[in-house]
């Protein structure tokens, strides 16, 4: 198979075969990060622009390391240094960036669809590092990679996703991706955080947290955004933690070898208790490790490579 996609904008546009191919490629990449010399010359001479309009230290660093380990030149532009603050339109900003001939633009933006629009405005590859509440494909792919490592596959796996589904691009991308790969996705949140029609995206909505977690093979917790308290989504962190927090008692209701995941950063004591987050079933740090490998794979594939990165 040859990977034909120029851009990685969302999970929706990736076929089951393409997802499998990305995950296979990422497994190969992971080995590079475990070497003493963590660098291969694969993308030497390629330029990657990291254009983050929304702050995100973790994701940006992960993409940056991924680029560097493949020997690409990476340049980061953040909100404070970009001219967006001076009133320039997004279209002008990215067309200006493109004039400097990057090969790939990685972008994070607060507006849903921004990466899709940019992909139409520029000719180089665009990788969406999170756009509004739409998609976060690299996060969902690294989550899938982590699940695949532990469980071997996705078929008939029960995956529970708990938290603010309405405002979560991670949830949307995971629901689409995991259901496409054969997993059974169940979500749970207060009614204020369940968007209209979400079932039709490939999941069932559980009545409460206990039902959602029961017999789950994977429990994926979403970060609750404390600043949303003012928008009437939930009355207090205390009440949220009581109804929707993952604690050891709840985790005990899941399958014996259930995995606990979280895209980070954590709100300990709110959506996840410390004992669970740091417990044996937690894969939270593995997710971060896999993130670099997965992003290496994305760079490699959109730059036109085939499965084995190290072969040249």
């Amino acid at each position: 198979m040859r990977f034909e996609k120029k851009d990685i904008l969302d999970i929706e546009s990736l076929s089951r075969e393409e997802i499998t191919y990305i995950l296979d490629t990422a497994r190969g990449m992971k080995e590079i990060s475990q070497r003493a010399v963590k660098k291969v010359p694969t993308l030497r001479g390629k330029t990657i622009v990291l254009f983050f309009q929304e702050p995100s230290t973790r994701t940006k660093m992960s993409f940056e390391l991924a680029g560097k380990r493949l020997s690409a030149d990476t340049v980061a532009i953040s909100k404070s240094s970009s001219s967006i603050v001076k009133g320039e339109t997004l279209r002008d900003t990215v067309r200006t960036l493109e004039s400097m001939k990057p090969d790939i633009i990685v972008m994070r933006h607060s507006s849903s669809g921004a990466a899709c629009q940019v992909a139409k405005w520029v000719k180089c590859s665009v990788i969406n590092a999170g756009d509004g509440t739409h998609a976060h494909p690299s996060q969902a792919l690294l989550d899938m990679m982590t699940i695949q490592e532990e469980k071997g596959g996705f078929e008939d796996l029960n995956v529970s996703i708990v938290g603010d589904i309405s405002h979560s691009r991670v949830a949307r991308s995971n629901i689409i991706g995991l259901s496409r790969m054969g997993a059974k996705v169940t979500i749970c949140a207060p009614g204020t955080m369940i968007p209209v029609g979400i079932e039709q995206m490939g999941c069932t909505v559980a009545r409460d947290m206990d039902t959602c977690v029961a017999d789950a093979d994977v429990v994926m917790m979403l970060r609750i955004q404390k600043e949303r308290q003012g928008s009437l989504l939930f009355p207090s962190e205390r009440e949220y933690a009581t109804l929707y927090g993952l604690n050891p008692a709840r985790l005990a209701m899941a399958a014996k070898d259930a995995l606990v995941m979280h895209p980070g950063p954590l709100n300990r004591g709110v959506e996840i208790s410390t004992r669970v987050a740091d417990g044996e079933q937690s894969l939270i740090l593995d997710q971060v490790t896999n993130g670099v490998a997965l992003r290496m794979a994305l760079f490699y594939l959109v730059a036109g490579g085939s499965k084995n990165a190290d072969s040249n």
């Binding site: 339109t89 629009q117 739409h134 209209v196 029609g197």
Partner: protein
């Protein structure tokens, strides 16, 4: 100047239906007669225009009760002249201009300015609508009688709906005593909550904040209650949801004095038609579900929806070539409305007579004018070519606005000739 239209099929509901010769002189209809009875004018000349009406339909001048002309203040989007010329090209002989200009049409000076600019345009007429509250702020009533004297025929806080129910009640009572209607843009801004498309599966998939149907219908229901309380004349603008139509149907059955309009996009498109993040499909209220679209068509059929208006809202390209949630709301409509509405006739939802009622007669009733094709009346007339096939090309619009979701769409039916006050203001090539 004299115009003779020969052998045209006249569709003027409640007045004339059949083949007629029409004579227009000095701005007025001079005679309407059975074919062949009219004294033949010698020839086409500078002073006399003879139009062969065969194959065309003559209807009372179409009136669009909901248009944003953008002047004064935002002439880069549209001027009164370009807007009124676009209206003429779309077959409209008159449009009602919304007050959200800069400055707002909240005083008699602005009203007079709009009317004087329109005079110079030599295109469609304008019937200005004044603002309810000072600067559309929803706080203090404007000098509405003063504006009425200057030429407004209705008031609205379109786009910035009156939240304060007491202010709305007082507005209705006051306007009732002035005998002018109040136009309601029904939207609870708190429920809309900064959303930018319909709340539903497409918005969920795209991660776009949704605007629920209830954001519209709760205000429709409130203002029905206030119309009932005050007995004032209330007209609901650009209805988009099944629930609103249901509420208005019930109110009418009860005898409450309400009317309403919808716009062509609400019976032509749904939220499922929105291509990913295409800002040319972003307007307020948003494109709704298929169920709502069907309810709109049903409301048009059974008379719950009295009229079709465009909510013509031109914007500059820059204001649409941005992130979806940051893009301006609104689409242009003047030059596509007639053909899109004629499609309702082609599909058998409406008869041609019903369509003329919704695009010419009911709007005239709302304005309190008589636009019958009859001797002595101002000669505002639209000649329609039902068979004209054309493709929507935004670059060919007369309007400055190019923001249409219908680009590339094949349409059938167009204005062949638009006559305003006895002057030809548009001729289709």
């Amino acid at each position: 100047m004299q115009i003779q239209i020969k052998g045209v099929r006249v569709v003027d509901p409640g007045n004339i239906e059949g083949i007629r010769d029409i004579s227009i002189r000095d701005g007025l209809f001079e005679a309407v007669s059975e074919p062949g009875q009219m004294p033949a004018v010698a020839n086409d000349s500078d002073d006399v225009k003879v139009v062969d009406g065969q194959g065309l339909i003559a209807v009372p001048g179409l009136i669009d009760v909901h248009v944003h002309l953008r002047e004064p203040g935002q002439e880069y989007k549209e001027t009164i002249e370009t807007g009124l010329k676009a209206a003429a090209a779309g077959g409209f002989t008159a449009v009602c201009s919304m007050p959200n200009t800069r400055p707002v049409n909240d005083n008699a000076q602005i009203t007079s300015f709009i009317l004087s600019q329109a005079q110079k345009a030599n295109a469609a007429r304008v019937y200005p609508v004044g603002a309810i509250s000072r600067n559309l702020e929803g706080q203090k009533l404007n000098d509405i009688a003063d504006m009425k004297k200057a030429g407004i025929w209705a008031v609205t806080d379109d786009g910035m709906p009156v939240t304060d129910s007491q202010l709305m009640r007082r507005t209705l009572e006051y306007c009732k005593s002035l005998d002018i209607p109040v136009l309601v843009h029904a939207e609870d801004k708190r429920l809309a909550d900064g959303g930018s498309m319909n709340e539903g599966l497409p918005a969920t998939v795209m991660g776009i904040k949704g605007i629920p149907n209830a954001a519209e219908s709760v205000m429709v229901m409130r203002d029905i209650a206030l119309a009932e309380l005050t007995g004032a004349r209330v007209h609901f603008c650009h209805m988009s949801t099944a629930q609103s139509i249901e509420a208005i149907r019930a109110a009418k059955a009860k005898g409450v004095r309400v009317t309403c309009e919808t716009a062509p996009h609400y019976f032509s498109l749904t939220d499922a038609d929105v291509p990913p993040y295409d800002t040319h499909f972003k307007m307020n209220p948003p494109l709704r579900s298929e169920k709502d679209r069907q309810a709109i068509i049903e409301g048009l059929c059974d008379g719950t929806i009295d009229m079709i208006a465009t909510d013509h809202a031109p914007h500059a390209e820059d204001e649409k070539q941005v992130e979806f949630d940051r893009a301006a709301f609104g689409i242009v409509g003047l030059e596509t409305a007639l053909a899109l509405s004629l499609d309702l006739v082609v599909r058998g939802h409406l008869t041609l007579v019903q369509l003329v009622e919704k695009m010419a007669k009911a709007p005239a009733d709302l304005l309190g004018i008589n636009n019958n094709i009859m001797p002595g009346n101002p000669a505002d007339l639209t000649l329609i070519d039902l068979d004209a096939g054309w493709t929507v090309n935004p670059d060919a619009f007369v309007s400055k606005g190019r923001n249409t979701p219908f680009a590339g769409r094949r349409l059938k039916g167009a204005a062949a000739l638009t006559i305003v006050g006895g002057r030809i203001v548009y001729t289709r090539d």
